[in-house]
């Protein structure tokens, strides 16, 4: 999907810097800030709402809010949505 408006809410206070969310992101939305040992949600517009980052975080730091309406189905009958 492109041109989406998904949001990712991150709580840096809870984060222990395990890098699992960074590794789990398969579409390069998440980069790693090695100085502060925290993820950077740099390319959120490319998020595919797979929820891996949220599910794999053992500290519950991440919440993905998918705005499904921003994903186009690309069909000529989108009017039924």
């Amino acid at each position: 999907m492109i041109d989406t408006r998904h949001k990712i809410i991150f709580d840096p206070e809870k984060c222990v810097g395990c890098q699992l969310c960074y590794k789990a992101c398969f579409v390069d939305v998440i980069r790693w800030d090695s100085e502060n040992k925290k993820p950077i949600f740099k390319y959120v517009e490319d998020c595919e709402h797979c929820y891996w980052c949220e599910a794999i975080c053992k500290r519950g730091c991440i919440r993905v809010i998918a705005e499904y309406e921003s994903e186009s189905l690309l069909q000529n009958f989108d009017c039924y949505r």
Partner: protein, 559 residues
């Protein structure tokens, strides 16, 4: 040549491009065959997390080989799914190895739910087919096994070009997606395991962006069956979550069961006729199309079939969030793609010496499935196992190639040309964005009446978008390395869509998944042929090749 972003020159016996289940299976198998060979896996994101095997339903195809013989399944498949276009010998080998592959996965750490007596928990899906579960940490487990066996990994490096010399692959080039460092890899054998082309539409399929298909094409490898790159799946219209097996319970706004219009007996999986039926009903103002709630057997049912604790946390999130917006059961098809045309022989070697292609980059190119897109096209649960199969069977030949070849220094002129091509979007002052190009390609492939239920007229419309995108792609501009990947993916999408629609225009018949409104019948007299594509000095050249069906057991009817 020194790249302004820095340069690293590496060498290895075997270079594997892509760290999904196919690449990981090959890496482990090669080490099992010859522990002394150096094996390097280079992955654009993070090996073990990438690819599709860890994002789907966690399903493996199972054959009860005490009840059915491999040739029984192949006969069913050839008649009902592959429609005489498949390589029956390769399909028979895949089915025969089913239990070997499952045992390998268990040995490599994958968790397959079992009964108390140690047998697999099997769920039948038809007279010939069955499924068993696998937990979604499968790729992580196989990566760990590979590391234990001495396989080396480089993550966050996108391989962009293959380098060849006298018809043999000598290595590859790439760049770091983090800091842009230019990489060269000198290798005795190269294995492409980069997945299919899915045009960034279906979320879980989104890692397949055609990188390997484009690389192989540019290097001059033959591609086969590019027109079978048009898989589509029913999804809920609000959340776009898939409705596996939902095609069995489709109803129109008048409350009529429309599944009866295209399905006369239980079938293994979704067919293109279900997609066409949706389009015809919608065109006749009989939409919206819904699944009967009381008959719905989609994802939630699959999730609870087996105990898979790792996957459960992802499925739970996905389903609960989707349920928040799915106020009804309206469905529509979502184009997915799964184009996988890199031609390989029975050892998974491409038409370029020393270059192998495995998994979803070469599924249709192997010709094993016949007239159907890559897994799960009409063969649910076969995606992961086909990737494992290809990884396992390529190992012996890859080891032989790596042992007999010498490392050849990469031709510096070719390396320079590759670097120039790779970084070109970063050096343009102005130009279009990758998304400008991708948007046009998506307008070509997305609407299912253009890509699945086709006609000459609608293919021509799709090609207009593709040609527009092709022109625009000459001016691609990237602002950073993340954007640079997208530019190369956009170029790959243009190539793949062009061969998809031009080949679709050539095939003037309907066969298996391939469906044309203007040529509704299967033409065994004229079209028992494969369409072959090859890059000849920059031109996309198409030809046909007769399918050698006479040497196989199951014969088509030709009047």
């Amino acid at each position: 040549m020194d790249s302004k972003y820095g340069r690293k020159d590496l060498s290895t016996d075997v270079l594997i491009v892509g760290g999904g289940i196919a690449g990981l299976s090959a890496a482990v198998s090669i080490k099992e065959h010859d522990p002394d060979l150096n094996v390097l896996v280079v992955e654009k994101q993070t090996a073990g997390y990438s690819g599709k095997a860890n994002k789907g339903g966690g399903v493996l195809q199972y054959f009860d080989l005490e009840r059915i013989r491999p040739e029984d399944f192949v006969a069913y498949h050839v008649h009902s799914v592959g429609c005489y276009l498949g390589d029956q010998e390769l399909m028979t080998k895949y089915v025969s190895m089913n239990h070997v592959l499952l045992d390998k996965l268990v040995e490599w750490g994958a968790k397959l739910p079992k009964n108390m007596d140690g047998s697999y928990c099997v769920t039948p899906t038809g007279p010939m087919t069955a499924m068993i579960g696998v937990d979604l940490d499968i790729t992580l487990k196989v990566r760990q096994t590979a590391e234990r066996k001495g396989v080396k990994f480089i993550d966050k490096v996108a391989v962009s070009d293959l380098i060849t010399e006298d018809g043999r692959v000598t290595g590859a080039t790439g760049f770091s997606i983090l800091d842009g460092t230019f990489y060269t890899f000198s290798a005795k054998a190269v294995v492409l395991a980069t997945g299919s082309q899915n045009y960034r539409i279906g979320p879980m399929w989104s890692s397949g962006r055609g990188d390997g298909i484009a690389m192989a094409y540019r290097a001059g490898a033959q591609l086969r069956n590019p027109e079978f790159g048009n898989f589509a799946q029913l999804v809920k219209v609000n959340s776009h979550s898939e409705c596996v097996f939902g095609e069995n319970y489709m109803y129109n706004c008048a409350g009529e069961n429309i599944t009866k219009n295209f399905r006369f007996f239980p079938e293994a999986d979704i067919s293109s006729s279900a997609v066409a039926e949706w389009f015809l009903q919608m065109s006749a103002a009989r939409g919206p199309i819904t699944l009967r709630l009381d008959e719905d057997r989609s994802n939630n049912a699959l999730m609870s079939l087996w105990d898979r604790p790792f996957g459960k946390q992802f499925w739970k999130l996905n389903h609960s969030r989707a349920a928040e917006v799915d106020v009804d059961n309206e469905v529509c098809p979502m184009f997915i793609g799964e184009q996988s045309p890199v031609r390989v022989d029975h050892d998974m070697m491409t038409t370029i010496k020393g270059l192998y292609a495995i998994g979803d980059v070469s599924y249709c190119g192997s010709a094993a499935p016949g007239a159907v897109p890559a897994p799960p096209g009409r063969n649910r649960g076969s995606g992961i196992l086909n990737a494992v199969f290809a990884g396992v069977v390529c190992a012996e030949s890859t080891c032989k190639t790596a042992r007999s070849n010498e490392l050849v220094p990469l031709d510096e002129k070719k390396v320079e040309a590759s670097a120039e091509r790779v970084y070109a979007p970063l050096s343009r002052e102005t130009g279009c964005t990758a998304k400008d190009v991708i948007r046009l390609i998506q307008r070509a492939v997305g609407p299912v009446e253009q890509s699945v239920y086709m006609s000459a007229h609608r293919i021509a419309i799709a090609l207009k978008y593709v040609n527009k995108a092709k022109e625009l792609a000459k001016t691609l501009k990237a602002v950073d390395f993340h954007d640079l990947i997208a530019c190369h993916e956009a170029e790959a999408m243009v190539l793949c869509a062009e061969m998809q629609f031009r080949a679709s225009d050539m095939r003037k018949e309907s066969r298996g998944w391939f469906l044309r409104e203007d040529y509704p019948d299967m033409d065994n007299k004229g079209w028992l042929k494969w369409i072959i594509v090859q890059n000849r000095d920059g031109d996309m050249v198409f030809s046909t090749e007769d399918v050698p069906y006479k040497k196989w057991k199951v014969q088509p009817y030709i009047d």
